[in-house]
């Protein structure tokens, strides 16, 4: 009662197709150098400039620009905004992706379009939406003023604008992944007696964890770096409603470029860390998409 096991063998045809795809050397080198020149000119050089400008007046100026009270307040606010908006978007993105990938319902494509909306709307407009709704002249402005609730030119407005802008990242990352994985494994778990909760924690979440983390990383980078939408609702009150990007702008407008670049280097650093994490996650994600068929 033995069962023969087929061992897949690479076919010789693959070798030929690889050769056929190969371009002449000069084409390859032209393309590669073009890409390299572009990358250096538009990405690497600016990044280097940020750090060199930041340290242009020495380490002590750099450090003092970061520990200055307004800078610290901006850092604190940025972290707070990210700490609120990222988890909220994680929960929202996960539930939206779950609903879209695993169930059929009417209005599904409308929901997908709505999730993409923040990508297609200019951030300034997204900020203005909130001003129009919660600002003093806005729809709820009077009511909010009566109850002494401040949203615009205060932290809640900044959080709202940030949530709006970072809305799509988690959901967009998860929807294709969950669709590709299908519902077979969840069904198998339920037939085996698992509850909905157990199925989520033991089957669904482990299968999407790398994609989820990827979405969270991107969402976080955008939440910390967002300028346009936040700028409209913040009011630029130093030490109160300035996030890191807004603080950089103020310093720069005051011709305090060393300090501006010092604070900006934090964001650049965040970008580099995000990039490294992203590459790592992409590598893990690839492994989790490979179907078990």
């Amino acid at each position: 009662m033995s069962v023969a096991v087929a061992i897949p063998q690479s076919s010789p045809g693959q070798v030929h197709s690889r050769l056929a795809n190969r371009e002449p050397a000069w084409v390859r080198w032209t393309l590669i150098s073009l890409a390299l020149v572009f990358l250096t000119g538009f990405l690497v050089l600016p990044l280097a400039v940020v750090f060199s400008q930041a340290f242009s007046k020495g380490w002590s100026v750099y450090a003092s620009a970061l520990v200055e009270s307004n800078a610290l307040a901006a850092i604190r606010l940025t972290l707070l905004v990210a700490a609120i908006s990222v988890p909220l978007n994680l929960v929202f993105g996960l539930s939206a992706a779950w609903a879209i990938a695993k169930f059929d319902f009417s209005g599904k494509s409308l929901l997908i379009t709505l999730i993409d909306l923040p990508f297609s709307v200019s951030p300034v407009v997204s900020g203005l939406i909130y001003v129009l709704m919660f600002g003093l002249q806005g729809w709820f402005g009077g009511w909010l003023a009566d109850h002494d609730i401040k949203i615009i030119f205060a932290v809640p407005g900044i959080v709202m604008a940030t949530i709006f802008v970072t809305f799509p990242f988690v959901a967009r990352e998860l929807i294709p992944l969950m669709q590709a994985q299908g519902t077979d494994e969840e069904e198998a778990a339920i037939v085996l007696g698992a509850s909905g909760w157990q199925t989520f924690w033991r089957v669904t979440l482990p299968n999407i964890k790398w994609g989820l983390l990827y979405g969270v990383i991107l969402s976080n980078a955008r939440a910390m770096g967002e300028f346009g939408a936040v700028s409209v609702v913040s009011g630029h009150i130093r030490g109160l409603t300035n996030t890191i990007p807004l603080h950089v702008e103020i310093l720069y407008n005051e011709y305090n470029s060393a300090a501006a670049f010092a604070v900006a280097s934090l964001l650049a650093l965040l970008a580099l860390v995000t990039l490294a994490l992203k590459s790592f996650l992409e590598w893990r994600l690839h492994a989790s998409i490979t179907p078990s068929k």
């Binding site: 009662m1 069962v3 087929a6 198998a188 778990a189 339920i190 509850s195 078990s292």
Partner: protein, 364 residues
Amino acid sequence: MSIQIRYITKSFGNFQALKGINFDIAPGELVALLGPSGCGKTTLLRIIAGLEWPDSGQIIFHGVDATSRHVREREVGFVFQHYALFRHMTVFENIAFGLRVRPKATRPTEHEIKEKVLRLLKLVQLEWLSDRYPPQLSGGQRQRIALARALAVEPKVLLLDEPFGALDAKVRKDLRRWLRNLHDELHVTSVFVTHDQEEALEVADRIVVMNAGQVEQIGAPDEVYEHPATPFVYQFLGDVNLFHGRVDDGWAKIGEADIRLPEQEVDQSDSALFFVRPHEIEVNRSNGNGVKGIGAFVRDIRRYGAVVRLELERTDGDGFVEAVLSREEFKANTVRKGDEVILQPKRIKVFPQAAEPAPIDYVI
């Protein structure tokens, strides 16, 4: 456990997938749901499992209505067509899953789980794979792990959706026999879905032939194969030649040929369908000795294992006929490509035809 399926209907939008399915499955039986793709067999299986709800009708497990019972409480094992193994768990954890998710009160101890998983791995003869992950397994191995996982919760009913569909021919044959032996050992009531008639004939105790959301015939493999109840079953189970003609006084009139119908219930019919299996056709050289039959030219001869297949074109231009001879028969009658021959059906099945037959969209 016995299963009674009572007047199950199910629609998806405008498409009626099941149109009143009604049959019983005896305890310990191995039943095949056989039919072309889209006939509703998988939907029926999923309804039995509780993964899908019927629009009307009942599923009765051991005399108790289980229609509204949640899949979790039905105590069924389900083996998915593409196995649906948990890709981030080892083989061991996959099999242990059903035991680990039990509520604390009924959950076995770690030691018991380990013992049980190892016993199941032994049963499916894959002990050495317990630390591997599903993507590292071959198709046949995954199938057997999926089966072990389903058996771990000691289901009262085992349901298999196209269990061998995604495997290559050799592995499929081995697994088929293996499943049959396993069933003889465990005696758990089992239902499997297949579109492969050979698989159904070889493995099942009983076959339920389905077409377009309806049951065409239910019976033991022999019965279904030897005495198909409808033209569909005849065409679907095995290769078959189809002739159009009429019946006159116990004689089949096919084109120019008259063929005596032995012990047929049909004496007279203006329009009839005749079915003849390729291996039930006698091929004789037409040497003018007055043998009556269907005239044909030999167009192609293919040796294929123990048999020889002849492709024949009717002399009256009314299509092609396939005949299968044993090598001995073939040697004895010395036909060659291009010869004109006379075809004599040894067994013929007549279905008198009221009007046009329902088009059969399945091509063998």
